[in-house]
Amino acid sequence: MLRLFDNAQYNVMRHWRAAVIVTSVFVIPGLALFGVHGLNTSIEFTGGTLIQVHANDPAINTAGIRAALGAAGITGAEIQTFGAPDEFVIRARLDPRSEQTDATTQETRDAVRDALNGAFSPEAFEVDRAEAVSPKVSGELRERATLALLLGLGATFLVLWFRYEWRFGLAAVIATVHDVIATVAFVSYLNLEISLVVVAALLTLIGYSLNDTIVTFDRVRENVKRSKRQDYFYDILNRSINETLPRTVLTSGTTLSAVLALLILGGSVIRPFAWVMAFGIVVGTFSSIFIASPVLLWVERRWPSEDVKVVKGAGMSAPAPA
């Protein structure tokens, strides 16, 4: 019978320093990159126009489109292939600080369309997608996305606080914030475009990563109840991680395989979402094993709880379980 991590007895807690280093090595350059380039936000958040064109004529390429736009007096538009060599996305973003009026967003969109119509025959291409977002709307969307992220985090913290004691809640939230930051670093490495759907993926990720952490902490809570007076909290944490390890790995495995199917087969529109989810599952699993419990131990040492007597005497240097 297939058994993964059956009776595992890894001293996971011992590796907390390594986990911190791995995280820092991954996150810090990513955030630095993000600091240099800024986030690649979609026109939903910057305002502006986007046209996705499917070329039926292989002669149409990025340079040809640029020339056609240039001939119509439109310069500075961003032209990229999108998913396939015959799919092109033309973006004209607005600078959120400039005084662009709503009308010009529409006009730019129409002008791009006219320029393409002028340069290519109607059969040579079709417009798959056209979006025009005015600065007013993009400002609202930015606000709503930020609110959704902050309130989502806040509300889950409240639930954890209500269901567990606050130390568990705090540790779970720190682990989750770690996941969000690591994912932002990942997004910045891949230069993924941040759209509403990517924000949705980030929020889902918060729920998912908490899910993993909660299952572990639930086991911790149970083991604390069962524990004897001489047990170290350090050991209880280790035992809880090991006991939930088969479940953690298996669930992450099935969810990850579903998301990988989406990433490979789901098409270009959903791909950024799938990238964020795939990475999120990996980092969420990592953090629930290597980050959440050490953080919980740290929180318990800093603010020892009264009712959990076993916690007293817990230390980072506690002996490994036999």
């Binding site: 019978m1 297939l2 499917h54 007096g73 439109i74 662009q100 709503d102 009308a103 010009t104 529409q106 006009e107 969109r109 002008a111 079709e126 417009v127 798959d128 997608r129 056209a130 025009a132 977002v133 005015s134 007013k136 709307v137 709503r144 996305a145 609110l147 959704a148 309130l151 989502g152 889950t156 639930v159 954890l160 269901r163 509403l196 759907v197 949705a200 929020l203 889902t204 918060i206 729920g207 899910n211 993993d212 909660i214 299952v215 639930d218 006991e243 088969p246 479940r247 298996l250 669930t251 099935t254 969810t255 395989s257 579903a258 998301v259 199917a261 989406l262 789901g266 959903i270 979402f273």
Partner: protein
């Protein structure tokens, strides 16, 4: 309550029947274009699962009142009336199942699915269609005022610039202030002293009183000039300067007519009762025939009687349509608008917006999303493919790892899929591409509850419990973790629903419904299967989990 297998089976059967019932095609009333061309309500049977615009292809517009030309007195009321007008226009345009609704305090959202000509649909929704008839400046009061206007322009530092002063097309495109470009020519003061005035230099006399022709290439500059304060101040009282909607060509050159018209309208579109497009047989021109209301017709007759021999401009949305015709006799209730080279379809669209009435205030599009039908088809195909592969992978892992128990879980997964789709249908949820992704994602998550339970059962078996006790203890001990873990996901999904827009909301709904369905499946359906399995096998045999 559900202690016996029999009562559990009854509940499961009821849930399955409920899910199937919610998927049975229902009677839905939709508006459709009948064979006679009129819109009418038709009842059809269909599966109550709507596809979103991103899968179906179509256009999504968000409109707000445009106050750039001046404040609107009662925006709330204007928006409400605009909603009615847009509704009747879309109705006449013939889009099946449009979504037209007010969102928030100041916005109207229009969603038209399956539209093949987004540009036309947009024009029909957005056009103000404010129609008015005004007399032209018969006494040439504006022309007499031109020297004074030129003088004040020169005093203000504007000179008769050459074409070089024109802003580039890009600047216009991006909304650069064209008046600023005109001002920049002011540095060059020497050439202007003896030349004609800045405005007069651009104007040629038209063929009727109050008409001026501006070479098309000078149109942007002339337009920015007449917006300048010195000009606006000196335009004679009771007159407006209005551009023609289209340029006209004379010989090889193209001119944009500018009209000085009376500010007072003889009559406006509010008195319009009907408008029909037709083709004038004699010269193959598109025309719109209109009929005024009884009282409107009376007033129009009175007005036109006093002005026989004068020229009357037909203005639509602040532009003059074609050259103003001369009033040969009084006009009653019936008249026509000549559209010249415009196609019959354009004439029909104009007649349509005239019939549906003018918007109470100009609207601007603040957000537009168009998805072509082929992109939507691709998305559905790829999303379904990914879903099937994901399902196969999950089934493979579960059966490979948990053997018999895995088969039960996979069986449960089939119920999960049915409950999710049934739940979505009974909520009348809209299926979007992120929604499809959410479904695929929740497939992976749906097995999580099973995994939690199975791992618990394995642990209980290890402690030496009998299979029956191990199963009970496994289900019971796994419950707190299952509930807590799913509550957080539901909460984040709820925030997504609250703050998200169309497609993202579809994702949130799918996630929430999927999680609830997976909870029901794991803790109830799969457990029932387990109980049946335990009952049918010998009590001493080892549990295949």
């Amino acid at each position: 309550m559900f202690s016996t297998i029999r009562s559990r089976l009854i509940v499961i059967v009821l849930l399955v029947i409920g899910s199937f019932l919610s998927l049975v095609p229902r009677d839905v009333t939709i508006r459709e274009r009948g064979p006679d061309g009129a819109m009418r309500d038709v009842t059809v049977k269909r599966v109550p699962l709507k596809r979103g615009l991103d899968l179906l292809g179509g256009i999504h517009l968000a409109l707000e009142i445009d106050e750039s030309a001046g404040p609107v007195a009662n925006p709330d009321d204007a928006l409400e009336r605009a909603l009615t007008v847009i509704r009747s226009r879309v109705d006449e345009f013939g889009v099946a199942e449009p979504l037209i609704q007010r969102v928030g305090a100041d916005r109207i959202v229009v969603e038209l699915a399956g539209i093949s000509e987004p540009g036309r649909a947009k024009a029909i929704v957005e056009r103000s269609a404010f129609l008015e008839w005004r007399l032209t400046d018969m006494d040439n009061r504006f022309r007499d005022q031109l020297p004074a206007i030129d003088r004040s322009l020169v005093e203000a530092g504007v000179t008769a610039g050459e074409s070089a002063a024109q802003p580039s097309t890009l600047e216009q495109l991006l909304g650069a202030d064209t008046a600023g470009a005109a001002d920049s020519a002011a540095g060059d003061t020497t050439t202007a002293l003896d030349g004609p005035g800045p405005l007069t230099a651009l104007l040629f006399n038209g063929s009727i009183p109050g008409e001026f022709l501006v070479p098309e290439e000078d149109y942007p500059r002339a337009d920015s000039l007449i917006r300048l304060d010195p000009v606006q101040r000196l335009v004679p009282r009771g007159l407006d300067l209005v551009w023609a909607s289209e340029p006209i060509s004379q010989g090889a050159r193209s001119y944009r007519p500018l009209y000085a018209v009376e500010r007072r309208a003889m009559i406006t579109g509010e008195q319009l009762q009907d408008a029909r497009a037709t083709l004038d047989q004699t010269n193959n021109q598109s025309i719109v025939l209109f009929t005024l209301t009884r009282s409107g017709g009376r007033r129009f007759r009175q007005e036109t009687r006093q002005h026989v021999g004068d020229f009357m401009a037909i203005m639509l949305d602040g532009r003059v349509f074609r050259q103003p015709p001369v009033l040969r006799s009084e006009i009653g209730r019936n008249g026509q608008i000549e559209l010249g080279s415009a196609s019959l379809q354009e004439a029909q669209d104009l007649a349509l917006v005239l019939r549906a009435g003018a918007l109470p205030a100009p609207l601007e599009i603040v957000e537009e999303r168009t998805v072509g039908p082929s992109l939507g088809r691709d998305s559905i195909r790829q999303g379904t493919q990914a879903g099937i592969i994901a399902g196969v992978l999950v089934i493979f892992v579960m059966i490979g790892y948990y053997r018999m128990a895995g088969i039960l879980a996979v069986l449960g997964l089939a119920f999960y899929a049915l409950f999710t789709i049934g739940g979505l249908a009974s909520f009348g949820a809209t299926l979007t591409l992120p929604g499809l992704a959410g479904f695929v994602l929740s497939l992976g998550m749906a097995v999580d509850a099973n995994v939690l339970i199975f791992e618990r059962i394995r642990e209980e078996v290890k402690t030496g419990k009998s299979p029956r006790l191990a199963v009970d203890a496994g289900f019971n001990n796994a419950m707190p973790a299952i509930i807590d873990a799913n509550v957080t996901t539901v909460i984040t999904a709820a925030f997504l629903f609250q703050f998200g827009t169309g497609p993202v909301r579809g994702f949130a709904v799918t996630l929430i419904v999927g999680i609830i369905a997976s909870l029901i499946t794991a803790v109830f359906v799969t457990k029932t299967f387990f109980l049946i399995w335990l009952q049918r096998r010998s009590a001493t045999k080892e549990l295949a989990i």
